[in-house]
Amino acid sequence: MPDRKLRILVAKPGLDGHDRGAKIIARALRDAGMEVIYTGLHQTPEMIVSAAVQEDVDAIGLSIMSGAHMTLFPAVIDLLKEQKAGDIEVFGGGIIPDDDIPRLKQLGVSEIFTPGSSTQDIVQWIRQHIQPRA
């Protein structure tokens, strides 16, 4: 299915309620022709992974402002592997210090978009790096 629309799960893990960014990204991806599912707020890694598997998405975008990124990103990636869904790519953004980015990438996060990234950069990155899963 080469022309299948990309399916992206935009997720807000953890307790922080700052969802302006997540919602803007969700709208921008939808406007760019992708199918977008937004989890809503205060999701546990378990809830996010279960939604991703159920919805059969191609990638998960995590938005984290609370400083809990070093805990939550790895938790989602580990759970995906456990669910044999390790091919779902995980990217993300939010308040994430530059110093933490190399470590996150080592842990399996595909890309991190920090404040000031444009929605078009994100759309373009997704188009280049995410393929519909077989």
């Binding site: 307790l15 969802d19 919602k23 809503g40 805990t71 939550l72 938790a75 920090t114 000031g116």
Partner: protein, 602 residues
């Protein structure tokens, strides 16, 4: 230019009777055409002859100098708008202000308080420089409080971590990775004892930014003060406790809106009886704005929230003048300088009329909108972080020119993390410079009478009243929130703003204009996982040492109050004194009313 005859007409001033009094010429024509309001005597700022003379001069000027100048160098934009979308004329003159009425401006400290709530404003006392702080363990934050106090901060302001804000203890699975990260970690009264150790609570005023679990935090504060020998009657400060804006914007909640508002009303009721120096709710536009609202939306939704609380208190049977004087507000201050100044002025005028005319308040204190302000976190950029110091200075100045009662200035590094000691000091120094070097403290409302600022004040008022009318028609703010109306309006504005930035219609220095290739990294504050371990250890110890039976009995009384109509403050106070945890008390709320969830609409 002829002098406006303001002084002569002052004696004739009479406050308007109707909330829907129209200010701008266009609105005035519209309302009189529909016969919506009766005419009343006015005290026009500008006399008719002056206006006529200026109008014809202005026409000639537009056709002459302006036309010639635009022919040589066209305007940079086809139309100029404020950040809220209010049209900005080339210049505003008395010709546009023909109907300006001195009753709308009044005098500082007099109804409708457009020019400020105090007669002498900063000549008497400067605004409170209240730097928001909280991170790591209670001991870490206690140290930061003491540091800020030795550097001239004049009020404490506490940030709590996400688990505390959402009603979870440090050891709850939902708290993973979040303990002490965005604020100070607290689970029990023991944490509060450490947080305020060595700080005499009868000598400082404390602000606590906490909402869904505010009742627990306030009770812990009362209990700590009691241990210091300070009775609650003497405690001064503010607890944010504005649940409506949580559903609208900040999204930190425990239970659904109606029971949440019931707890807020319990607290307002209790404080009005027992804590005369306490502000039991700080009706907050800040988070609404940060979530992407325009200044007009911030103004409108916040005042609508305020109206909602007053309505609920009145329904409870409270007399409006018994509590309204203790309500306070909290505004964001964003980049559009004059629009921000106008927002403060319009807010005071609308609130004064709402309280007097809609709710029948008689006590002038009930009419006065007192406010805290914070510079816009959302306006800060990760790129070229030192630019944030300049942004914050301009925003802080706007808040002061708007007549704020207290101010927090953000630090340059806050797009990355909580601020370091150095950056928070620079932010505090920014306020001190405004206060002591700029000279703006010397006169009350220096921008009052500015044609443009008065024009914007009128426009913001008109547009906010239109939103408030729509919300009234929907059945009030609680219903509007349940239907997601403000949330949707804010989402639209946030998306529009982002698109304007990405399309280059709106320039953000360092982000989509004037970028630098090389940027020096800045120091940022890191919170390590030791904080979580330390908090969980202390929590375990407290649980082991406390009287389990007393805790269960106290929690049962909290539950009984939740299910009935008794005020929740006394049983929650009793529970925290027995070292029941914040999570345990919140669990009772969840058990009785259910956990609130918002759908994934975007």
């Amino acid at each position: 230019m002829p002098k406006p005859p303001a002084r002569r007409t002052q004696k004739k001033l009479r406050p308007a009777k109707s909330l829907r009094t129209a200010r701008s010429p266009r609105a005035a024509r519209k309302t009189s055409a529909t016969g919506a309001r009766k005419s009343r005597p006015t005290a026009r700022t500008y006399d008719a002859a002056t206006v006529r003379q200026l109008s014809s001069a202005e026409r000639a000027w537009l056709q002459g100098e302006v036309a010639r100048s635009t022919a040589r160098a066209p305007a940079r934009r086809t139309e100029f708008l404020t950040d809220s979308g209010i049209p900005v004329p080339t210049v505003v003159t008395p010709a546009e202000r023909a109907r300006e009425d001195q009753a709308e401006l009044g005098l500082p400290g007099r109804f409708p308080y457009t020019r400020g709530v105090q007669p002498t404003m900063y000549r008497g006392r400067l605004w409170t420089m209240r730097m928001f702080a909280g991170f790591g363990t209670p001991a870490d934050t206690n140290q930061r409080f003491k540091y800020l106090m030795t550097h001239g901060t004049t009020g404490l302001s506490t940030a709590f971590d996400m688990p505390a804000l959402m009603g979870y203890d440090a050891d709850h699975p939902m708290s993973r990775g979040e303990v002490g990260k965005e604020g100070v970690a607290v689970s029990t009264l023991r944490d509060f004892e450490i947080l305020f150790d060595g700080i005499p609570l009868d000598q400082v005023t404390t602000s606590m930014t906490i909402n869904a679990s505010a009742i627990v935090a306030l009770c812990m504060y009362i209990a700590v003060a009691e241990k210091q020998g300070v009775p609650m009657e003497k405690l001064g400060g503010t607890i944010q406790n504005d649940m409506l804006k949580e559903y609208i914007a900040q999204k930190e909640w425990i239970v659904p809106p109606r029971p949440a508002v019931r707890i807020v009303v319990d607290m307002i009721d209790f404080c009005s009886r027992h804590m005369p120096r306490w502000h039991p709710v700080s009706i907050s536009g800040y988070h609404i704005r940060e979530a992407g609202a325009t200044a007009v939306q911030e103004l409108a939704f916040t005042l609508a929230d305020g109206i909602g609380y007053v309505e609920e208190c009145v329904k409870r049977g409270l007399a409006v003048d018994d509590f309204a004087g203790r309500l306070s507000f909290f505004w964001d201050v964003h980049n559009d300088f004059f629009e921000e100044v106008a927002k403060f002025r319009a807010a005071r005028r609308i609130w004064a009329r709402v309280m007097r005319d809609r709710f029948g308040a008689r006590d002038p204190r009930s009419w006065q909108l007192r406010t805290h302000a914070q510079t816009a976190g959302v306006s800060l950029t990760a790129q070229q972080p030192y630019n944030n110091v300049v942004r914050t200075a301009l925003q802080g100045l706007a808040a002061v020119l708007g007549g704020t009662q207290s101010l927090h200035t953000n630090s340059l590094d806050e797009t990355y993390a909580l601020p370091t000691e150095e950056s928070v000091t620079l932010a505090l120094r920014t306020q001190q410079l405004i206060a002591h070097e700029s000279g703006v403290d010397r006169v009350v409302d220096p921008l009052g009478g500015s044609y443009y600022v008065e024009y914007l004040t009128d426009e913001m008022e008109k547009r906010a009243l239109e939103y408030i009318r729509r919300i009234d028609e929907m059945g009030g703010i609680i219903r509007a929130v349940e239907e997601g109306y403000p949330q949707k309006e804010i989402g639209e504005s946030a998306y529009r703003y982002q698109r304007e930035v990405e399309q280059g219609e709106r320039l953000i220095v360092g982000v989509n204009a004037f970028q630098s290739d090389r940027e020096e990294p800045i120091q940022i504050l890191k919170i390590d996982e030791r904080v979580a371990e330390e908090q969980v250890d202390r929590l375990r110890k407290v649980k082991a040492e406390r009287n389990g039976k007393a805790v269960s009995a106290a929690l049962a009384r909290v539950e009984a109050a939740c299910r009935g109509t008794d005020n929740l403050m006394p049983p929650v106070l009793e529970a925290v004194k027995a070292y029941a945890t914040l999570g345990e008390i919140s669990d009772v709320f969840r058990k009785v009313w259910g956990q609130y969830r918002e759908g994934g609409i975007f």
